[in-house]
């Protein structure tokens, strides 16, 4: 193997081997970037609540996938702006039903919460419930 020279003090005079370089796997990221943890830690120091729906959805219903829809939409669920605590939502995210709701209604509400965007009421609270990776 040209280019490999023996170590000067190596009595056995073996050529040095290049070590293998892991190139990663196809389709798998090798970089994890640190995102602000503000929401998580600040959320743990202050209890918070999430209204379903928030003010931006007043008077609307929620469909099974969590979208806001017109009140007469078939299969949609009534929502009155009821407030759920961070703890209640956390439990609902792991399978329990939100208090005062049926199973399907709870699923719809949880999907609504999952769709919240920054700026909508309850978003910061929901973001703070996410477990760190």
């Amino acid at each position: 193997m040209s280019g490999d020279t023996p170590e000067p003090n190596d009595p056995i005079q073996m050529p040095t081997r290049r070590r293998a370089l892991m190139l990663g796997a196809a389709g798998v990221a090798t970089v994890v970037s640190v995102r602000p943890a503000l929401a998580q830690t600040a959320g743990s120091v202050l209890n918070c609540e999430i209204p379903v729906p928030g003010p931006h959805g007043t008077g609307m219903n929620i469909d099974a996938t969590g979208n806001l829809v017109a009140p007469d939409t078939p299969g949609s669920f009534v929502a009155t702006g009821q407030k759920f605590s961070g703890e209640e939502v956390k439990r609902a995210l792991s399978g329990q039903t939100l208090p005062g709701t049926t199973y399907e209604q709870s699923q719809a509400y949880v999907n609504y919460i999952r769709r919240l965007q920054a700026g909508q009421s309850g978003f910061t609270c929901f973001a703070s419930l996410q477990m760190p990776r």
Partner: protein, 98 residues
Amino acid sequence: MADPKTLYQAEPADARIVEPLDMMTLIYQRRSGITHMVGEPVPQMLEAMGEDAVDAATLAARLAVSFDLGGQDDAVTLITERLEELAELGLVERVTDA
């Protein structure tokens, strides 16, 4: 699929702070303020690129001088993927032909 002739260029070395740890290397990118936790072969790629604009095949050849890359075709494909990942994060730039 990225064009194999695409050239990639890393930021100058002083644009970042590199801290090797046990299982990963930390890269703080001064321009964005973002901290990236990276594994092999990213630190080695950045060092081998230096300040040059290189394509994936050239970079693979440079790395092969110091490291064993296994099968050559596979290596270029994987290095292309890594370069694309770094370009998406802003750690390297795709250089358009003059």
